[in-house]
């Protein structure tokens, strides 16, 4: 589903975010990217939906080399990739329903599809009764569920999560992980960057560890370290 081949990415001559990184994620896999801040986890995620381009190497997503793809095709690539962030990135002037509907609206999905899919995905994340709330009326965990609903409403092949539990207390974070696990069980590939040891150790999934831009460990059913 995702394949990185000898990818090197630097932001300036001094800072190399990623050095000669290669790894592969199979369809339906759940992968943790772990490592301290600045080790290159976020860069790796940003390379996967072409928010960044590498200096060297290739990134393949769903059978396509996404760095040789013309700019005009990038939006269609991204429709297959959901994104979740530590700070949720919800639109504060829109309700829960509108936030999720927005993701479908801007890719031109018709109204009747929106009316059908948004309640379904809100039900999946457990927010059916909060459709009309605004983000500031929700707890952190609920806001993250809205953002997961938005990322998943278009049924993407891949879900990229950047520290999704970073702002949440442990119990809420576990709830979010159960939700991501359920989404993974539907066949969606999940790549999640985190430095939350407890969660990595609890889930026992594949762990790719980064240290100063280099992949130092790749382990099935791994723990944090």
């Amino acid at each position: 589903m995702i394949r990185l081949e000898n990818v090197t990415k630097s932001y300036s001559t001094e800072v190399t975010a990623l050095r000669d990184a290669s790894f592969e994620v199979a369809k339906g896999e759940f992968v943790f990217l772990v490592g301290p801040s600045g080790s290159g986890k976020s860069t790796l995620l940003r390379l996967m939906n072409r928010q960044e381009q590498p200096e060297k190497g290739a990134v393949w997503v769903a059978g396509k080399d996404i760095n040789t793809m013309p700019d005009s095709k990038v939006p269609y690539l991204r429709r297959n990739i959901g994104n979740i962030f530590q700070d949720y990135k919800l639109l504060l002037n829109k309700t829960v329903f509108e936030n999720v509907a927005f993701a479908l609206e801007v890719i031109g999905r018709p109204k009747h599809v929106i009316r059908q899919q948004v309640p379904a995905v809100l039900d999946l994340v457990g927010l059916s009764d909060k459709e009309d709330r605004f983000p500031h009326q929700l707890s952190g965990g609920e806001q993250q569920r809205v953002s997961i609903a938005r990322a998943f409403v278009n049924r993407p092949l891949i879900l990229l999560a950047d520290e999704p539990t970073g702002n949440l207390d442990p119990a809420t974070g576990e709830g979010i992980m159960r939700l991501l696990d359920r989404i993974n069980n539907t066949g969606t590939t999940v790549v999640m960057a985190t430095h939350d040891q407890r969660i990595v150790n609890m889930m026992r999934r594949r762990v790719v560890q980064l240290d100063r831009g280099v992949i130092v460990r790749d382990q099935e059913r791994g723990v944090y370290d």
């Binding site: 939906n49 939006p75 991204r78 639109l91 927005f102 609206e105 890719i107 031109g108 109204k111 938005r150």
Partner: protein, 300 residues
């Protein structure tokens, strides 16, 4: 499709409301600059009309001293009529002092200072001469020969007036063109800035849109629509202004119906054509300016 169109209009309207002052500034500036562009065209057209009319029968005017005797006047007339090869005798007109005074009343209506100096007694009478030839050298030679006749005060050539008008119209053309271009650039700059502000206000939305796979055109179009609308509203305002200006001007000029100034009226058809052009320029400048601005700031 319908969903996309309604989305674009909703976003455009919301953004319009959000940036009322900046939008108003952009609209007013584009209206003023377009008004200037339109005025340039009309002024140019008016001068062209004037010049073509004069070009048709380049005349020369022989002014007769106010104290000339009847014999002197008769002699001058004879001298002019003795050149049937060069002048069209049938079109020769003599305006006596009373008639010349009446004409001056109209010609100098806007210049009471000059008018006050003139009386039916001190004003020169005049022969209006229509030549049969286009050869301005020949006309000038003839005119100079009249100059020597006793009782002739002055010989004026339409060619001289023609040159002055050409020079004035040239100057006005350059001045208004430069001003309208400068203002048009300012207007585009203001539209650019409005769009940038609008995009900044919506940067979170744009970021999310890009991440969920909205195409650049989808993101850009509401902003282009906003710019187009600003330019178009500016165009409509400038058309109203231009229509008003032209009506006022035409009314003022009709008072001079039997003088050359009447040629300065521009036909309604031409005015309409200029107005359509202003709308198109306004809309295009707004849409293209904001489109480029949107593309510039679209990188997330």
């Amino acid at each position: 499709m319908l969903a996309r169109v309604s989305y674009a209009f909703r976003e455009t309207w919301a953004s319009f409301k959000r940036n009322v002052t900046l939008t108003a500034a952009a609209v007013v500036t584009s209206a003023v600059s377009l008004l200037l562009v339109g005025s340039t065209f009309l002024i140019q057209r008016a001068f062209d009309n004037l010049l073509t009319r004069w070009k048709g029968d380049v005349e020369l005017i022989v002014y007769v001293r106010s104290d000339a005797s009847a014999e002197q006047i008769a002699f001058i007339q004879e001298a002019i009529e003795s050149q049937p090869g060069i002048i069209d005798v049938s079109k020769l007109r003599y305006l006596d002092q009373a008639e010349s005074y009446a004409e001056a009343q109209k010609l100098f209506a806007g210049d009471p200072g000059t008018l006050r100096l003139l009386t039916p007694e001190n004003i020169p009478s005049q022969f209006k001469v229509v030549p049969t030839t286009d050869d301005s050298n020949l006309i000038r030679e003839l005119g100079e020969s009249f100059r020597g006749i006793e009782g002739v005060r002055e010989v004026a050539y339409a060619q001289d007036v023609f040159d002055v008008v050409s020079r004035v119209s040239q100057f006005i053309r350059v001045a208004t063109t430069v001003m309208s271009i400068v203002l048009l650039i300012v207007a585009i700059g203001l539209i650019w800035n409005t769009i940038r502000t609008a995009m900044f206000a919506r940067r979170r939305e744009i970021e999310v849109m890009k991440l969920v796979g909205a195409t650049n055109w989808f993101i850009r179009i509401p902003f282009m629509l906003e710019g187009l609308l600003q330019g178009l509203i500016g165009g409509v305002l400038s058309c109203a202004g231009l229509w008003g200006l032209n009506s006022a001007w035409s009314n003022a000029v009709t008072d001079f119906n039997d003088t050359e100034l009447a040629a300065l009226v521009v036909s309604d058809g031409y005015v309409r054509w200029v107005m359509i052009m202003l709308l198109v320029i306004g809309a295009a400048a707004g849409a293209i300016g904001s489109g480029i601005a949107a593309s510039r700031f679209l990188d997330v």
